[in-house]
Symmetry: C2
Subunit: 532 residues, 2 copies
Amino acid sequence: MTPIFRTELTPLSFLERSAIVYPNKVGIVHGDREITYAEMAEHATRLAHALKASGIEPGDRVAFLCPNTPEMLIAHFAVPLIQGVLVAINTRLAPMEIQYILDHSGAKVLVGDTELLANLTPVVDELTTVGEIVAIDDTDTPLDFAATPYADLLARGSSEALPWAVDDEERTISINYTSGTTGRPKGVMYTHRGAYLNALAEIIHSNHSPESVYLWTLPMFHCNGWCTTWGVTGIGGTHVCLRQVDPAEIWSLIDTKGVTHFNAAPTVLIGLTNSPDAHHFARPITITTAGAPPSPTIIEAIEGLGAKLVHVYGLTETYGPHTVCELQPGVADLDVAERATFLARQGVSFITAEPTRVVDETMNDVTRDATDMGEVVMRGNNVMKGYFDAPEATEEAFRGGAFHSGDVAVWHPDNYIDLRDRSKDVVISGGENISTIEVERAIESHPAILESAVVAVPNETWGERPKAFVVLKEGQSVTGEGVIAHVRERLAHFKAPDTVDIVAALPKTSTGKIQKYVLRDREWADQDRRIN
Amino acid sequence: MTPIFRTELTPLSFLERSAIVYPNKVGIVHGDREITYAEMAEHATRLAHALKASGIEPGDRVAFLCPNTPEMLIAHFAVPLIQGVLVAINTRLAPMEIQYILDHSGAKVLVGDTELLANLTPVVDELTTVGEIVAIDDTDTPLDFAATPYADLLARGSSEALPWAVDDEERTISINYTSGTTGRPKGVMYTHRGAYLNALAEIIHSNHSPESVYLWTLPMFHCNGWCTTWGVTGIGGTHVCLRQVDPAEIWSLIDTKGVTHFNAAPTVLIGLTNSPDAHHFARPITITTAGAPPSPTIIEAIEGLGAKLVHVYGLTETYGPHTVCELQPGVADLDVAERATFLARQGVSFITAEPTRVVDETMNDVTRDATDMGEVVMRGNNVMKGYFDAPEATEEAFRGGAFHSGDVAVWHPDNYIDLRDRSKDVVISGGENISTIEVERAIESHPAILESAVVAVPNETWGERPKAFVVLKEGQSVTGEGVIAHVRERLAHFKAPDTVDIVAALPKTSTGKIQKYVLRDREWADQDRRIN
């Protein structure tokens, strides 16, 4: 029997608490819908019973394919409430990719938003494990295959109380498939314990309070919304749903719903600050950003609108954020350019994470001199349990006793890490490593440039050389030569790109990350290997 | 081997992190001394090595008898760093009481402040387990027995890094002896896991941030300072030490050190607000209060000075605070009297605690009608591991599957608990329970009255009747009849005291709790039993 002094850690306890403390407070806003915490807990309980009645047993996977809607949020509690495992699928994947995830996870039930389910028509008859498809119709979208209406699923449930508890805190709570820029997606397993601790850390580092009004710009399918699904529920804040990232809609919700916090990748912030609706925030707002180092230009723009920017860094394998660029005493007094340079670093571990390290190939720490590059590795409670049904990939990722991020960083003398690249993105030119991020920062400091991506291209003399793809701000112009000259004024000349393509847009993943591999594939199409 | 995805939870990681993130930031201020986080970690490491060199092995107890000084704080990390158990002794105990705790805990080493050690002279030769006494001389106080200077102890250590880790998160980190108003003190065992989680909850509920400047009005020996020793260190705030609670000194430190937070019992707040130095706070201050429900009068006074009051409730057995009176939406708009009535409730469980219950003798929940009284019981991660070397007392406290607080409360329909009394403080008059707290609140709403205590006294007709002891504000006057009339205007007449003693002061424990048993003992001296 569990001793009296021990409760297994689980984020289920967060919804239990908020339903006790704030039963009549609005926990979720979605358009005109308002759902109180009592209703949210009741809905989660009913859905849990319904899934059980549909054959879901402890450990079974339940897939959700939904935008940031109330049902997607509530599933984060309903599925674990019967010790099931939530698989929230990236909504922008192609039908065959979704099919792969459903097959690989072995999900017995798929609950989807009709607008997204409609895209599954080509593969729906080929699903091997899904016994039932349940459709949530939020947008009056017709389906051309049979699906159970969500209301019918719920009707199988009841509001009879279930314990907001788990039998073992290391039980898997969710599987999040990596976006898989190369190879097949891998299923990252989170535990109840890890989700609980990371949610508390999100509350602390994003400074949430019961007064938080959190706008869902970040997809909930992305690391379970960095565990903010659980965190904002735990602190008793209000979730504001958002079906898709649209700057005009975001500005409207910020203005009308009293938003105090949101999380967004730098590319989303670029869209926001360049929107015609952009204006100074009416109240203090905390924006937590990750996915790429925010350029000084973005930091200056977003702070100029009155927001506090928290820069965090992590991966799907680390429950989302693992480090935060903590402000040091005195940083607030720096001029905006110096402050921006400081804030662009990835920083130090979350309060619930073990110290993040930067290591060489033999797992020894690199010198903390802001120059030596190494790989970022992590271990501890904020690291995944492993890849689902992939022991070899897990072993490979955990080699040497830590999780290998594949990200390349330098370590500053003050212990902050500063990303230089994804391992595979580094340009090796005549044996010298060139950080494509550093080159991009230099390019983006040009006032005419909105965003950029630098990749390695094959070169007879140097092996590889950097090439830049550049998107201009509306109505602005600059030549490739102008870009190169701008970079050469700022960096060692060998780091400047040899060629620059001015393009209309960059290829991006659903979470706003630039897909450098798409650019690289194009440039290396005629080569028989990808490293020169 | 511990899996890569698991770190044993321990507050040791908090000092490790702050030494990495804020090495040069001042972590501790004590008079003119300023100690950075790097120095604090180095000091803790050196002290840990020194204790090990002095024979301390994993599981051994190390006693500290110190006011709120840097050494007392650092011991919270140094002792567990070698898997030792910290016994921080109440500094206001009599020599024989301290002797009992040293003997019972089996502490091998006693580290003490010379001012406090000096009082131990009568018993120092009778200590059975203490092999060495180490003296910290913060005040130039001479000792008349032999003791190792603290510097000599430290000289046995080294700064060689020790892992900021524990082998098992359920290992005991500290033993805190209850103040023992009746019977012998009991040694409450805290675990690394419980201390870690409660420290995170303190950060969240008292809204700490890296900018926190925390004034040590609360004794560190009291529930390890409600785990704030570990929490403020973890968030990277600044600790401001304080040897003794003195309103003039507190006001001075608030003004000169930039204090943003402190914790204090209502009796301390009475002293502060009535001090001639009292003035409006120059910056936003959060005061977390516990130990007794703050009267509406205190709440109004402290809010009038510009502080935010957080009311929490707990016991030594629950790592200090276990519940918090969360503000509901709209409470801020209530008038001060209504807001004060709301804030006087103990509230709901901390985010890391299981829901607190109010139960009858058969462990069933009482009705949530604000009328039915029952005992407050708790279980989960914020409950002690048990009483040290006292299995029977532990079993008794844990009977029925929960920790029995001994406190009597009603449960409001909105799930907030509201304390009515310590079990032994309830007045049973003609079979009716009278909450002495309720009577005290009515008495203290009288403008001439500073504080009061109501106890049961024997009565021929009714069995027991309430009697009030009242302290007047300086320069004020009121008669006993005036007090009784004031209460009868506010409460059912049977609840009004029959007699009122106007006294100069009330007997109090070292932590500011009124010792009702002292008053009761006097009144019941001629009786052969204490319940009528």
